[in-house]
């Protein structure tokens, strides 16, 4: 099975080319990190994978679990097992976390033709996962991301990931806006739910995040394409001398 293969992907927004013949292959169970300077197209990649309709895919292919991802809309991609942890999770006042997540998991289960979770089963699952992430039950009564601190928002993203149990998670600069303690809490959360059958694509500027989540492959991205691939030592090199050598 081809898990994720992106082949010669060209993407633009409002006429401006962002991704240029972008290629990557991620196998099941692998952790990949993409590092790059501001404006190199990292977040565009994350959003294109999630199906953001603001971007125009001009050419290229994305195969995910043997299916052409570009044929699927945003929610179908999520139902197929793709999860985007946002750099800036959106605040949605009035939409309560618990029924929202319940609807999310059930839409995924329905798509997989599996029995949906009743209120009680979902409440148990939510409570268990929230406890593992040290999220209080009070927080679960609140509206999505509303009034959350930066750390709380990212922890809530991890909670959603743990409930939806995706096969591919994309972390779009999850470390941005987090202090050292918050970063540790969030990465511990990610590691708790790591699983050899799951794959992760970590997008970041800095090595710090990769000290906590150890990637199998590190890629450097510039001008909309990967210019170098290697192991964790590549991240150390970037930390020492920046991106100008790439």
């Amino acid at each position: 099975m081809i898990f994720l293969n992106i082949n010669n992907l060209n993407v633009s927004i409002e006429g401006k080319q962002i991704l240029n013949n972008f290629n990557i292959t991620i196998n099941q169970g692998e952790v990949h990190a993409i590092m790059g300077p501001n404006g190199c197209g990292k977040s565009t990649l994350a959003n294109v994978l999630a199906g953001n309709e603001d971007y125009e895919v001009n050419s290229g292919k994305i195969i995910f679990k043997d299916e052409d991802l570009l044929d699927l809309n945003i929610e179908q991609r999520a139902q197929k097992g793709l999860f985007l942890a946002f750099q800036y999770p959106v605040e949605i006042p009035g939409v309560n976390i618990t029924p929202f997540l319940h609807a999310s998991i059930n839409s995924k289960l329905k798509n997989e033709k599996k029995p949906e979770l009743d209120n009680l089963s979902f409440a148990k699952l939510l409570r268990k996962n929230a406890e593992e992430l040290d999220i209080s039950s009070d927080m679960l009564k609140r509206s999505i991301n509303t009034g959350f601190s930066g750390g709380e928002k990212k922890r809530y993203e991890i909670l959603q990931m743990s409930i939806l149990n995706p096969e591919l998670t994309i972390f779009d600069e999850t470390d941005s806006g987090l202090d050292v303690d918050a970063l540790k809490i969030v990465t511990e959360g990610i590691n708790k739910f790591k699983n050899p059958k799951k794959s992760y694509l970590i997008i970041t500027h800095y090595q710090k995040l990769l000290d906590y989540i150890h990637p199998d492959h590190v890629h450097v991205m510039r001008n909309g394409k990967i210019v170098k691939s290697g192991d964790i030592s590549l991240a150390t090199e970037i930390e020492a001398s920046g991106y100008q050598n790439f």
């Binding site: 945003i74 929610e75 999520a78 006042p93 009035g94 999310s104 959603q160």
Partner: protein, 408 residues
């Protein structure tokens, strides 16, 4: 039928016809409207309506007493059904309700001191064919459910007077679930006496051949509280104009409304609060969701007189436009003549937040469900403090509205 014919042929059918003062006033109004002797361009009462809309109708009214009821559900709960603006006369130790008689002319004239400069209210006075006097007695604690029923083709021009006596606590539920084709021009004059606390919930959910012009003019005395929530899910034309005079110290008024429009429906709203005494509080908040080619307007006004120090007055309007063809015009206004006040106004109107929609969809929620979640959240905070049965009813109406409009 023309405006002129309506006025001349049916003039004997109106109430208070024997009173010279009112007859003269009616003549004056007729002349003013007939000769178009008013500034129609700057008249907020004509937003989304024209004089032709107002005056072109077939006047038809008969006072039918059958069907109107007063039901005592328990010691503190009443259900009152009005048919064609007529009630069943009733009195007990808590309430008194009766139809206007010629003897009530003084009440009518006194309440008319508040000149609203409103053509719709002028029409109400011209064609006045029904009126009810409600008296809620002091120190009572009641729930009252009012049901308005209008027969097919009837034109109701009604003027009601509601007196909430001292220290009463009343939850008044006002239901306009009109199913017959009709015109309803209803004017409330409400007096909230010292220490009274009133929660007035108004439900408007009727079919597209109906028109409802609902105007209220409320006076709040010392330490009283008047809270009005209007929920409009109607297919027909609705005009909600609500005014409050905060005349007593430490009185407060909340005028809130939500409307949900589709097709070519129109909803015209105005709220107006006059702070005439110190230490008063007011809040005017209207929210609307518009689809298809629907249109809405909302004027809000806070007036703080010179002697109304320590005033707090807030205004807010919010609108969600679901298509490029619908429109929502909002104009908040503050006029402040005191110097120790806290006042604000704000307005946000736009499409559904695309970022919120995207976020929900990335979690596997379909576009239609995500849209429903976002629109429901829009009025979620307004449902928090309502009684369960009322909140459930609004949720049901909202759910019907959402089902009718969202397609994948």
């Amino acid at each position: 039928m023309t405006f002129e014919n309506n006025f001349n042929i049916h003039s004997k059918e109106y109430i208070f016809i024997d009173n010279d003062i009112l007859s003269n006033q009616r003549e004056d109004i007729f002349k003013k409207i007939f000769k178009k002797n008013f500034d129609k361009n700057n008249n907020e009462s004509l937003k989304n309506i024209t004089i032709t809309d107002l005056s072109t109708f077939e006047y038809f009214y008969k006072p039918i007493k059958e069907g109107s009821t007063v039901t005592l559900i328990d010691d503190s709960q009443y259900e009152i059904k009005l048919v064609n603006g007529i009630c069943k006369n009733y009195e007990d130790e808590n309430i008194e309700i009766r139809n206007f008689t010629n003897l009530d002319f003084k009440i009518f004239l006194n309440q008319d001191k508040n000149n609203l400069d409103d053509i719709v209210v002028d029409f109400n006075k011209m064609f006045l064919n029904s009126g009810i006097f409600f008296n809620i007695k002091s120190d009572t604690k009641l729930k009252i459910r009012l049901i308005h029923d209008t027969f097919d083709n009837f034109t109701i021009f009604q003027n009601n007077f509601i007196k909430f006596q001292k220290r009463c606590e009343v939850k008044l539920e006002d239901n306009f679930n009109l199913t017959n084709k009709s015109i309803n021009n209803i004017n409330y004059n409400i007096n909230v006496e010292e220490g009274a606390t009133i929660k007035h919930n108004i439900f408007q959910n009727f079919t597209n051949s109906n028109k409802l012009y609902l105007t209220s003019n409320t006076v709040c005395e010392k330490n009283s509280s008047y809270s009005q929530n209007t929920y409009n899910f109607s297919d027909g034309f609705v005009r909600n104009f609500h005014h409050v005079n905060l005349n007593g110290e430490f009185s407060n008024a909340l005028l809130k409304g939500c409307f949900f429009l589709k097709d070519k429906n129109i909803c015209s709203n105005k709220t107006n609060i006059l702070h005439n005494a110190e230490n008063c509080f007011s809040d005017q908040t209207y929210k609307g969701v518009l689809n298809d080619h629907s249109k809405a307007s909302y004027y809000s006004n806070t007036f703080v007189s010179e002697n109304a120090q320590k005033t707090e007055g807030y205004q807010l309007s919010k609108g969600i436009l679901l298509t490029d063809n619908c429109s929502f015009f909002s104009k908040p206004e503050l006029r402040i003549f005191a110097d120790d006040v806290k006042c604000s106004h704000g307005s946000t109107i736009g499409p559904v937040d695309e970022n919120a929609l995207y976020y929900l969809r990335t979690r596997g929620i379909s576009k239609s469900e995500a849209m429903k979640m976002i629109i429901s959240s829009f009025i979620d905070e307004d449902l928090q403090n309502l009684d369960n049965n009322i909140a459930d009813r609004i949720s049901k109406n909202l759910s019907d509205y959402l089902t009718s409009l969202v397609n994948d």
